[in-house]
């Protein structure tokens, strides 16, 4: 069960870079795992191993993929079919119009747009905070930087639950300006920027950039802004990619925070809106709505899978 999901995925990048470098070395010397080529010459072990792999494949296809395949099928099946024979392998009639009905009649396009705005805003906030903070703390290094960095890291030890209510009251009435952000997208995505994990990951990446390049740029007369924009950021694409994909996916998946700060249904993202649509929607249309809400994150994952799965897989090959 995922520590990585319920908590923030702490061990990911920290452990990963080490794992990647080690993987590279073991890959080059001799690629072997639990079983060796020598052992596999024994027929018994070879067949057992193959059987175990096939069993795992079946388990994953049925267990992990199964519910999603079922959803894909049920979303284009008329309600009566789904209710009468929920496990029928193939639908009697295909109802493609379910998807269109969900998109238009349930006003899914509005909630889809809201989700997109929140995800993009959350991404932009996190990128802005993480890159500027990482740059200042790692490259510019003001004297008080260590203290600030400590204050950032300390927030990692405060569980998210503790902040829920005080954060809500803060958003309700911002200090100094006394603005109320509830029912605005700002409330949904600005707090996402306060991610100590992002700052730590980006700062550590900047720490490892070649000093000679940065010093050379400084000697050539680049100011802090030019150094940041034209030298440091272009060299940091890998880490920016990792932070980006996790930021977008986390925003797409978020539920409790937008539920609290966006009570206006017209502002809500899909995750928040779907539960209240459930009791008032025809089953097949609702399942179509669930499918539409899942397709984007899954496509996103398939496209950027190397960022998610890189924990030592092809990370050794491509950095």
């Amino acid at each position: 069960m995922s520590a990585g999901l319920w908590a923030r995925p702490l061990p990911r990048v920290g452990g990963k870079r080490k794992a990647v470098s080690k993987a590279a070395s073991s890959e080059s010397s001799d690629s072997r795992g639990l079983t060796s080529a020598f052992e596999l010459r024994h027929n018994g072990l070879r067949w057992t191993r193959r059987a175990v792999h096939i069993a795992l494949l079946v388990f994953l296809v049925v267990g992990a993929l199964g519910p999603l395949l079922w959803l894909a099928r049920a979303a284009i099946t008329p309600t009566q079919d789904t209710l009468r024979t929920p496990m029928a392998f193939w639908p009697h009639g295909i109802a493609w119009q379910n998807l269109k009905t969900a998109w238009v009649d349930l006003d899914l396009k509005l909630y889809f747009k809201n989700t997109l705005i929140i995800a993009l805003g959350s991404w932009a906030t996190q990128m802005l905070v993480a890159t500027t903070a990482g740059y200042a703390l790692s490259i510019l290094r003001p004297r008080y930087g260590q203290i600030l960095y400590g204050a950032v890291l300390a927030t990692m030890f405060v569980p998210a639950v503790v902040l829920l209510v005080p954060l809500y009251l803060t958003v309700l009435n911002l200090p100094i300006s006394h603005t109320n952000l509830v029912n605005t997208y700002w409330a949904a995505f600005l707090p996402a920027g306060a991610s100590a994990f992002n700052v730590a990951v980006v700062k550590r990446f900047f720490d490892n950039l070649p000093r000679e390049v940065i010093d050379a740029a400084r000697v050539d007369g680049a100011g802090s802004f030019r150094l940041f924009w034209y030298v440091v950021l272009p060299m940091s694409r890998p880490v920016l990619g990792v932070v980006s994909v996790f930021a977008v996916l986390a925003a797409w998946k978020d539920f409790i925070w937008p539920l609290i700060v966006l009570p206006d249904p017209a502002k809500q993202p899909l995750s928040v809106r779907l539960p209240s649509l459930a009791p008032v929607t025809e089953l097949d249309i609702f399942l179509a709505a669930l499918l539409i809400s899942t397709v984007v994150p899954i496509a996103f994952f398939v496209i950027f899978q190397r960022f998610f799965l890189r924990g030592g897989l092809d990370g050794a090959v491509k950095g």
Partner: protein
Amino acid sequence: MTVTDTAHRQRRSPLTWWRGGGAGALLFLLPMLLIFGLFSWWPILRTGVMSFQHTNLVEPAQWIGLENFRNVLHDPLLPVAIRNTAYFAGLAFVFGYPVPLLMAVIMSDARRLRGLFSMLAYLPVVVPPAVAVLLWRFFYDASPSGVFNSVLGKVGVGPVPWLESSHAVMPALVLEATWAAAGGTVIIYLAALVSVPPELYDAAEADGAGVFRKIWHVTLPHLRGIMLITLILQIIGTAQVFLEPYLFTDGGPDNSSLTVLLLIFNYAFGSTTGGGDYGSATALSLMLAVALAILSFIYFRVTRSWSTS
């Protein structure tokens, strides 16, 4: 760095600070200072204050000492919520903890299929949790023609009233939560498994070890450090479980899936209880956080000697 800095401090003037790029650094730190200040540091400080106050957002907050804590501790629902949360965490440990480990060990030995395996395992993780719960709520339909019940009916079991029975509800929630989350842990273990030095396996083989002995004496010891971390992170995560009980059953039936975080949510935002009790919500959040901090501290003290690094 700090030593030389203090030595130079006297000679620094605002002008040299400006020329040395001090203003630039501050400018770059501005987004972080603003966002962390408003949405992290300030709410953290506020937690401590608010738990000793009565706030209804209209009148100014009043200091009421420990009354919030007293209210929470006297709430008859608190022991129920704690018991349910511990039960959830326990079930998640028994069922959810070994599964990713086993999968990762098998996957690490697969060469060509490893990419496909890890992609399939991770797929549920990217499904929005609200969507996953709504889908599974339908799977758990209590009628004999419900998705799971119709499968179980073929082997003569059931129908099980999954979410409507106070006995079955927690295991049902844990099953969905495991499905949704296992993939993330699999990837963490896989990353650690790639770094097992192949020489260790070679050596174990030379000593005549079979597959199971290699797992027991090489693979698992290598994973010990990361297993200890994923375990405490899982405990901390399951102690804060909210989405499943909220969306599946809203704490029911008969409070048998009411968790601590759901209780906090109900104090502050609940529709049935009226909500608005921000003081009690903060007090209970604080107690949960302190309990988790103490637990983690003890955990790391006790397990320090087991960890490999």
